[in-house]
Amino acid sequence: MEIEKKREQEAAVVSLKGRMDAVSSPEFEKEMAALIAEGNNALILDFAALDYISSSGLRSILTITKKLKEKDGKLLIAGLKGMVKEVFEISGFRSIIPIFESVESARSQI
């Protein structure tokens, strides 16, 4: 999975490309923890190029959500598609994490 981070004024935008599975999600979790430790309290995850997610990826997202909550921060997700969207719906993640059509619409909610 490729992870691209952009630190913007109102939020850090993280674009993910490829597969978030049991192999790649620990690295993702580590990078997000580092972003939060730097003081980025709002994260927008851009999933437009994410093709695959498993329960390992969902667990990492939950861990990051908890870390951000402790700092009164927030996590927003944009651009769900295909099987990633299906897994979010089945697992109930859609109801606990704010989901937006695009990074722009997520940004306007911060």
Binding site: D21, A22, V23, D51, Y52, S54, S55, S56, L58, R59, L62, G82, M83, E86, V87, I90, S91, G92, I96
Partner: protein, 136 residues
């Protein structure tokens, strides 16, 4: 019948995935269906790595076959601790309700994606059989 036996480790996941993709490549399955198959495979294998072999090392074997043209069946077996994913819950996580639910999320996703699921423990092996209808 195609099968592949490898050490039950995270490092083996990619090889198992390639093996299954190679097996099904001429079956004309939609990308959506392929992703579901990959998800089921990963969730079963990570459960075996975590719960059948929590401390010791061992192998896992994946067989992938096509039945009646419209069904894909996996037989996945390991030689680890008896572990029935259909009845056992993953370790409980502390915290709120949502977190407790997430402990069994892998199993939950498997159940949602497959049409037939059968576990038995025989001759020191965990044997899990899963079938999915192939949607074209």
């Amino acid at each position: 019948m195609d099968n592949l036996r490898l050490p039950a480790k995270l490092e083996s996941l990619e090889t198992f995935r390639s093996f299954v993709l190679q097996t099904i490549k001429d079956w004309h399955i939609t990308q959506e269906m392929v992703s579901r198959i990959e998800l089921v495979l990963e969730e079963v294998l990570t459960n075996i790595i975590n719960y059948a072999y929590p401390t010791q090392e061992g192998d896992v074997e994946v067989k992938c076959t096509r039945l009646n043209k419209d069904k894909l069946c996996f037989v996945i077996q390991d030689w680890g601790h008896p572990f029935n994913p259909l009845t056992e819950n993953s370790p409980n996580l502390s915290g709120d309700l949502f977190e407790r639910r997430i402990g069994g999320l892998g199993i939950f996703l498997i159940r949602k994606m497959v049409d037939e699921l059968d576990y038995r423990h025989e001759e020191g092996k965990n044997i899990l059989k899963l079938c999915m209808k192939i949607k074209k």
